[in-house]
């Protein structure tokens, strides 16, 4: 297996959780990651020093923000507030309208749709098409599989399978993340690939979703092209 650079784009650390960033980084390095993105909720980070990462770890940990909005206007306002200031904007999805607004907005990098947590709302094929047009990646949150059992897990896996079908059809970008809140939630890249195979992802696809796509997102590879086109 050739060496890939693996990235985990959704990890929560201090001040949102009690785990210091340094400890997460040590474990992630040990597991073979090339980088992780610390995406704390914007409301927690606001007005605290923990929002900035120390420069010593800047080449490994990337700063991101996770936006959890309740209304459309709130979502738009917050995206505009953080755009350009942080390298990674993740939007936690919710209702169908919220998902649609996030996927139509090219400023958003990753959408984390709810898998079974809020029940029925999912992504439809129309929304995934918007995601492909605007280069918004769709997150597959493996923490939801790890921390649920029986019927809950079956529902989540079913939903992921559906979304994967749309993602393949419209060539949207899938991203596999751990959504870890502690060092015990982190999993090594090979384990993530094995977990992704539970909902029907091929090995190559999963490796791609863990390495090339996250790297491209952090470098804004696709977004840059778009900006050039707009000018």
């Amino acid at each position: 297996m050739p060496t890939f650079k693996f990235f985990d784009l959704n990890v929560h650390a201090y001040p949102e959780t009690e785990v210091p960033v340094e400890e997460l980084i040590r474990v992630a390095r040990r597991y073979g990651y090339a980088g992780i993105a610390i995406t704390n909720y914007d409301e927690v980070v606001k007005g605290k020093e923990g929002g900035q990462l120390p420069p010593s770890i800047a080449n490994f940990a990337f700063r991101g923000i996770e936006i959890r909005a309740k209304s459309l206007s709130e979502l738009k306002r917050r995206i505009r507030l953080y755009y350009g200031k942080v390298p990674l904007i993740v939007v936690r999805g919710g209702s169908k309208e919220l998902n649609e607004a996030a996927l139509k907005n090219p400023m958003v990098d990753v959408l984390a749709p709810p898998y079974g947590e809020h029940g029925k709302e999912g992504l439809t094929h129309v929304l995934v098409r918007y995601a492909a047009e605007n280069d918004v990646a769709i997150e597959f949150n493996l923490n939801a599989i790890i921390h649920s059992r029986r019927s809950d897990r079956a529902r989540i896996l079913g939903k992921m399978r559906d979304i994967l079908k749309f993602v393949r059809k419209y060539k949207a970008m899938p991203v596999i993340t751990s959504n870890a809140h502690s060092i015990y939630d982190l999993r090594a890249p090979r384990e993530m690939v094995a977990l992704a195979s539970l909902f029907g992802m091929q090995k190559e696809e999963a490796v791609h979703a863990l390495s090339d796509i996250p790297e491209g997102i952090l470098e804004k590879k696709w977004k840059k092209k778009r900006e050039v086109e707009i000018i």
Binding site: Y184, L186, R187, A188, E191, A194, L195
Partner: protein
């Protein structure tokens, strides 16, 4: 080893009988040994871990899947040389499974998040075809600082 012994003592009837009772190589099961490392909040004993691994495999693949995977915990022990975090415990172990069910067992291991209320995470260090090879893999982690 056993075959060699049988050959050199071929005069001995008992040895011949023993050789005949051994499963022929073509019928023997192909196995893989997974060397894994575990980090947890506090120390976990082998029984707790085994129960959790079994639970995870049964809940993911059901009874038929679990029977096909032929999983068996060979050894598990605390890694005493581990330094690092103050409140972390590290353990290493070897798990046996069928050669074509490695990815399934790996997924089942990754699904374990806690054992009797203690949070933990498992990482597979490597896979080997022999116990000797697997213990060599665990030794590299033990010596790591």
């Amino acid at each position: 080893m056993k075959m060699k012994r049988a050959k050199c003592k071929s005069q001995n009837k008992f040895c011949l009988l023993r050789f005949a009772l051994l499963l022929p190589p073509t019928l023997r099961e192909r196995r893989r040994y997974l060397a894994f490392e575990l980090i947890s909040e506090r120390e976990i004993d082998k029984r707790e871990l085994l129960r959790e691994i079994r639970d995870s495999v049964y809940s993911l693949y059901g009874d038929t899947g679990a029977s096909e995977s032929k999983m068996w915990l060979i050894e598990y022990g605390k890694n005493e040389d581990a330094n690092g975090g103050t409140d972390r415990c590290r353990g290493v172990g070897i798990l046996r499974c069928a050669h074509n069910k490695v990815e399934e067992v790996r997924a089942a291991l990754a699904c374990i998040h806690s054992a009797s209320g203690v949070r933990l995470g498992i990482r597979v260090i490597g896979i080997s075809g022999t116990i000797k090879g697997a213990s060599r893999l665990t030794a590299t982690v033990k010596n790591e600082k």
